[in-house]
């Protein structure tokens, strides 16, 4: 199947600010792409380009086979859903009225709008004015708005900012359901823990440049960050120490029976075998580098590159 979104060598400048630099990226049908980056990395600009709110300074943006600012943009927009970063809606209207207004604009039946309110858990509060809504409820309303008309592509800009942990899980749950239905999702975030399981692919932006993109496992390989191993039991003896050192393991700490090691990812199985053969150990846990660690790795690398470029 063809890609839902294609960005080909896209540049976007705002005066002297170079917001996106030669960015190429694709999103496949039913794929959830996580867009990671610091503030001002270009995440929102990228979304606006896909939505057709902004035109690229150069390069080509294609969404569902069309130019998002071209002739077919009007029909294209019926198939897109968008949740902006900060939206407070119309305080004087009730949640139901707000959603029905957007539903009419998107040519969606009023009945479907009411059903969506139920689905995001606002059924009870539908008649209350948005003014009285909490941050989480506003975000749910925003999500219901983005889901109007069963979009084929959903763009969520920081959908979990300011939400309590339960609400965050709800948002992730909804993304999982949509992914199951074949909807493509572009999700920007800098709240990293917990998001891994809900995204298929990650794109890391730094100062307008795409530093890395791929599956989380792919990025782990690319980064080559060490595995974190924790073991519990009797202190390591000398023979084991030298064996582990031979496998490239770095012993980071050893106090009151808790041993922390970091091992190169390629040696994972060998190191585990060594550890499991040791009768003095009671427990071993292995953690691959987390998404935070991967992000920090690429971000630091990206900033160095940018620094080098400026000096050159």
């Amino acid at each position: 199947m063809t890609d839902i979104v294609t960005l080909d060598a896209v540049d976007r400048r705002f005066g002297a600010v170079h917001a996106l630099k030669a960015l190429s990226l694709t999103v496949a049908p039913g794929e959830v792409l996580g867009l990671l980056g610091h503030n001002g990395a270009g995440k929102s600009t990228l979304m606006k380009l896909v939505l057709g709110i902004l035109a690229p300074s150069s390069g080509v943006v294609t969404v569902l086979g069309h130019d998002p600012r071209g002739r077919g943009a009007r029909d294209l927009r019926l198939q897109l859903g968008y949740l902006p970063e900060n939206v407070s809606f119309y305080d004087n209207l009730s949640g139901r009225e707000v959603l029905r207004y957007f539903a009419r604009l998107k040519r969606v039946a009023v009945r479907d709008a009411d059903r969506l309110l139920e689905r995001v858990g606002l059924g009870e509060a539908a008649g209350r004015r948005v003014r009285t809504y909490s941050k989480g409820m506003r975000q749910r309303l925003g999500l219901a708005q983005a889901l109007l008309g069963q979009p084929r592509l959903l763009l969520l800009d920081e959908p979990t900012v300011g939400l309590d942990p339960m609400a965050v899980q709800d948002v992730y749950g909804m993304i999982d359901t949509l992914r199951g239905n074949g909807t493509s999702v572009i999700l920007s975030s800098h709240v990293l823990p917990g998001v891994e399981r809900h995204i298929d692919r990650v794109a890391i932006l730094c100062q307008g440049r795409l530093l890395a993109s791929g599956t989380i496992d792919g990025l782990r390989q690319q980064a080559g960050l060490p595995l974190q191993i924790q073991a519990r039991g009797q202190p390591l003896n000398g023979a084991l120490r030298s064996q582990l050192a031979g496998q490239g393991v770095d012993i980071q700490g050893e106090d009151s029976g808790a041993i922390r090691l970091s091992a190169p990812p390629a040696e994972k199985i060998a190191v585990l075998r060594t550890l499991l053969a040791e009768p003095g150990l009671e427990d071993v846990t292995v953690e691959p580098p987390s998404l935070d660690a991967l992000y920090a790795h690429f971000d630091t690398w990206g900033r160095q590159q940018e620094g080098d470029r400026e000096h050159a």
Binding site: I53, R77, E85, N86, V87, S88, L105, Q145
Partner: protein, 276 residues
């Protein structure tokens, strides 16, 4: 086109809900009835005297009130949505910027027209019912013209309000600009003209002076309602230059219509050219 009406419908319902329409209607009706009864108080009479007195006093007050109401109604229509974040959202819907602006104008314009027609219409009906000297036949013409010109004056300042609203990024700034526009058109312009007239010791040609008056929508509104009445001479001040030749009301209403269309078109162009 469908989206334009959806936006207009929302604005209109908002106006009903937050009682803008009701408040405007009541203010207009009370203003008209109060002036009808007490407009001639200066000459020692109380109660409805003549239609001309009523219209002249109404126009003198309306020229301050109507622009202010229109500006307050619409100054935040775009900049307010921008601050709420809903503008960005609406731009991802199948709705063009021009369509959004047209919907806003249609909704606000209908609100203002309804309140004007209802408010002054109710007042006219009350005057006919309660005052013995008044009759439909005498009232219909001047009141009708007054209402039409008042609606147009309101639309002119709605259009100016959108122009303000698309060219600022902060609501507070838009409010300040709206007040400035009100001052300029309602107070400063006439004062400046008067100053020009006095300063040049009448050297300013009558033709140029008339043209300058016709450039200000509030003066045009006064002209529509003052010409043809003797009482106007006292109330009209600057407009006495026109006493020798009355302009056709159609031309004057046409100028008001142009003052509505031109700022709207400029606002639409500015809005369409905006980055976000």
């Amino acid at each position: 086109m469908r989206e334009v009406f959806i936006v207009a419908g929302k604005e209109f319902r908002d106006g009903l809900r937050n009682r803008w329409i009701l408040a405007m209607t009541v203010v207009f009706a009370l203003l008209a009835m109060g002036l009808a009864w007490f407009g001639a108080a200066a000459s020692g009479e109380v109660g409805f005297t003549r239609i001309s007195t009523t219209i002249v006093s109404l126009a003198s007050l309306g020229v301050f009130l109507i622009p202010l109401i229109a500006l307050m109604l619409a100054y935040d229509s775009i900049v307010g949505e921008d601050e709420q974040g809903t503008l960005l959202l609406l731009m991802t819907y199948p709705l063009s910027r021009t369509g959004l602006l047209a919907g806003k104008f249609l909704g606000h314009g209908a609100m203002l027209a309804l309140a004007t027609v209802l408010g002054f219409g109710i007042a006219a009906a009350m005057i006919v019912l309660l005052a013995e000297q008044a009759s439909w036949a005498a009232l219909a013409g001047p009141f009708g013209l007054f209402i039409v010109s008042a609606v147009l004056l309101g639309w002119v300042f709605l259009a100016l309000a959108y122009l303000i609203s698309v060219s600022t990024r902060e609501k507070a700034r838009a409010a300040g600009l709206a007040l400035l526009v009100w001052f300029l058109f309602v107070l400063v312009y006439d004062l400046a003209l008067l100053g020009l007239l006095v300063g040049t010791e009448g050297q300013l040609g009558g033709g140029l002076f008339r043209t300058l008056l016709l450039l200000n929508p509030t003066d045009v509104f006064r002209l529509v309602n003052f010409t043809g009445f003797e009482e106007a001479a006292a109330a009209s001040g600057l407009l006495t230059v026109f006493s020798d030749q009355a302009h056709s009301p159609l031309l004057l209403l046409g100028i008001l219509a142009a003052w509505t269309v031109v700022p709207l078109v400029i606002a639409a162009l500015l809005f369409a050219g905006r980055r976000t």
